[in-house]
Point group: D2
Chain length 313, copies 4
């Protein structure tokens, strides 16, 4: 499948943000990780997603991270930039940055913190598109963070009007995924891209008709997701399920951190970063403040899971 004709399909990992010991952005590790992902054969790079700790990054650090990814990528893959912030005016600042730095597409959530209305959410996506009509725009369904489920008829209206290229769905609701694909078909919007953000049910999502995946765990084992994408695309479902189940054993790294001691973000990102540190890609497993770090025992457990289940490492 040619990337030129099917942009934004396949595996588009949300690139993690490595830090130096002093908490500053570790651009060398970030470049290494970009290189590693491209070598593994992924189809695009998603910069500044939730897995990149975008919620913790200042505007300046976001710019530096995006610039580094785009520079290292050097046009090889499409780069999608998260422009995630509370409301339209603040998102538009990130849109401006993404445009200036040369991103190929944008990902935005609905507004959060504020109590909105469907019309206000729809206008939000229209305003983002108007500010950068030359960039493809993806809506990000992330109820766990945004506390809103994106309305499917709204998404179809925005797609029909050329505002949205697609949706990244991290809702974890199989009926919603199904309904998205059905709505796309009913509206005759075959070009509308549906990406799943749920790394443990990629086979199920592809069976329902998803076009790609944005797997945080793809930072640890991009090869596995590239292979899973191929199996699903080729209709080799039995093999796909077997691979998905092996991948899910690796996903255990995200649950090593003790939930009695830290939040879900800390455990999940902490596990991914610990794995990349163990693999020698990141110089530290540090997360943004005030994430609780994994302890030594937890790091050892992550290393053991990686050594057992990661693919081609």
């Amino acid at each position: 499948m040619s990337k030129a004709t099917t942009p934004f399909h396949g595996v588009i990992p949300p690139v993690l943000t490595p830090f130096n010991s002093d908490g500053t952005l570790d651009t060398d590790s970030l470049r290494k990780q970009v290189e590693r992902l491209i070598e593994a054969g992924v189809d695009g790079l998603f910069a500044l997603g939730s897995s990149a700790e975008v919620a913790f990054l200042t505007r300046e650090v976001r710019r530096k991270a995006l610039e580094t990814i785009i520079d290292q990528n050097a046009g090889r893959l499409p780069v999608v930039a998260g422009v995630i912030d509370m409301t339209t005016p603040r998102v538009l600042q990130h849109v401006e940055d993404a445009k200036a730095l040369g991103a190929d597409a944008l990902v935005a959530t609905a507004p959060f913190y504020v109590r909105t209305h469907l019309t206000e959410i729809e206008d939000h996506f229209r305003a983002i598109h108007d500010a950068a009509p030359e960039l493809e725009l993806f809506a990000y369904n992330l109820p766990v963070s945004v506390h809103v489920v994106l309305d499917i008829p709204m998404l179809m209206r925005l797609a029909a009007d050329g505002v949205l290229k697609g949706v990244k769905d991290s809702g974890g609701n199989d009926g919603y995924t199904r309904a998205l694909v059905a709505a796309r078909r009913d509206a005759d919007l075959a070009e509308f891209v549906v990406l799943t953000g749920s790394e443990m049910t990629v086979d199920m999502a592809y069976l329902a008709g998803c076009d790609g995946v944005v797997p945080g765990l793809g930072n640890v084992d991009p090869y596995a997701y590239v292979e899973l994408n191929d199996l699903c695309t080729d209709g080799k479902w039995k093999e796909a399920v077997a691979l998905q189940e092996r991948i899910n054993k690796l996903m255990a790294v995200a649950f090593v951190g003790d939930s009695g001691r830290m939040g879900g973000s800390a455990a999940g990102l902490g596990g991914f970063k610990s794995a990349l540190h163990h693999l020698g890609v990141f110089t530290t497993p540090l997360m943004s403040p005030t994430h609780v770090p994994l302890n030594d025992e937890e790091h050892a457990k992550v290393a053991s899971i990686v050594d057992t289940y990661a693919h081609g490492v």
Copy 2:
């Protein structure tokens, strides 16, 4: 009661952010409103709160608004600055700005968008205090936006350690307010300030032991809240209830906007700004994008409510 000895008690309105027709900050109207609030006898000014549309303001506009308020206030009242953002590193940028501009105190919520743990929330407040130990810090309990209720034992720990000066409680739960006051007494932390953000139940909150109120509606009728504070402080409960009930008739401006057409923020802020436009304080009733504006009929209804129920206008 002397302001010098009881700072951060009484009426501390969250100053609204007026806009010019082109959407830029209307500093003249903002100065007029600051002057109007001071003349009415309020006890402090809360800049960059939720009612100020802080979630919609870029860092640059936040700075300009805070600078204008501080400049116009000219040291007459304590100025509390909201430093509301998704996570610690981003909040710390606003802390830096507030410090540089001369705020007297800060208000921060727990992190949002991310899945945190009690320890991470506690560390968040500690990090803010460490960045500006000379400024008083208030925790902002706002579950409707932040989707977390601040843990009372945590607040008491932070108060005992000198991290927190108080809490602004907009939880709308009378049992929580009661429990806050009881915890303060049990911990022998009489200096810990409990402010309510619920403008329709101020009398109830004061009866339970609250020290002050941060009323969005106080932008429209600061005189009423100053009088209500005095009545409550003097134990004139019958008169306080009667005044609260009259104030609540005025609060109807926040529910004029049709909830079938706009979100709760648009209706509430739209009503307040429409009222201030009607009163000649603001040159426009504009809100940040993508709030749905009130229509002409709704503006007329707001004007009629203001003319009937606002105090001393």
Copy 3:
């Protein structure tokens, strides 16, 4: 204030359901408790409420408990019977029982377990009233159990149509309580009774205009609530707050049960029943299966709290 002219005002405790060691209804202890409440001067008896473990009682046990309370009361006080069940047809069976046994009034929640619409909730209350038009009907606002907040305009329609006599509000939201009282006034429905179910904020609720309280803790210390009701009714707010604060120390019995080991119902009811066992009113502190019981250490702690803070025991 004469009970005849103001029925359903004042203190109406939800009578607990005592059990024998074999788990059967302990009618002797139930009679003792009814006698004790009447002696303390309460204004009514609420049988088969949430505090009576109504959710755990079979139809047969409910009948037996209600019959015992009505028999022991012997017409001295109005008896309100809970008819709490999942949907209309099942509630109507309890209505039939309550009617046959001679209750004076009914308390019903909205349907639960099912996904309803406002119209269906309204029709539910109308159907209950139609089945027993001679009994007063109270709507029970209990979002923690029913997962619906009763719509205030609906309540006013039902009141205006003679369907509802009042509401028992256990929502814990001071703004809702306030809005109920305001809606009653605006609709000129002075006879509509607003009772609070929040035993720790009775003073606040009365200040806002509530007419009575249904305090689970009133089983332990009915004298304190009778006195609190008098202080609030007489406008002695300072004394009311002081008494409420002492009562809240006693309420600690409901939080002795370790939340890591049991649910909120078990801790709360377990604390009340442990207190009544300690006071010699109940022969056992048993709760319905599968509540986790308090352990010996917790029972001792409850006893100590009761000895310190209960009134006139």
Copy 4:
């Protein structure tokens, strides 16, 4: 696949409850529907599920419905009986009835209305099993009604102890379904049955490893689900997806009812019953009070959908 060796796999429709015009149970229509389902080749019958309006049925009507189904079935298929009620003591009454009437298995939710703890939920299932150890027991995961997600490690403990035969999962969360299947494998509990209650994503659920489906829509078109089960079991995923997508067009009957006028239960059940009335199986489309009925236009729309998409009717 022999039913004897793999009981409780495959298609187990939740049999709807038909009513006569006077609202009484229509046993003739119920017998017709049982016959129709058996003829279509389903693998079991689930009596007294949510789709049977179990929440609305009195104990007497539940018994009559279950008795009718068991009598008509005459031992041809396993009959699973819902014993759904608020708490253990009330559920145990239904267990007694199901046992007396000859059911083969039971389905129970966690307690609802009450605030429970994991231990109390686990003890609830143990108590049910102890009351009828000879009947297989299924746990019903239904967060939309019960407001609790069943804990997977608890389910595995109960399975290992012989308390649970399986789970009916109507959670709508693909990650949860996946995790259930993985936990079963990790615990070496191959006999533990995982059934999905989500009729629009059966193919996805089977891909993940589910063993069967409990489809409300299977009342309307049992043939389609029997065929879908076969396709999935045979690994014919492409055909399975195509059939699922056609089935989902039929599922539109559940969304014909105007959500502005009725609740989700009324629309869903109303659509199913309207379809069965149109098909001549039920003599009326009546639902329990206080469901809002579909109107004539909506009935016509349902009929048209059925005529277009139902299989072999």
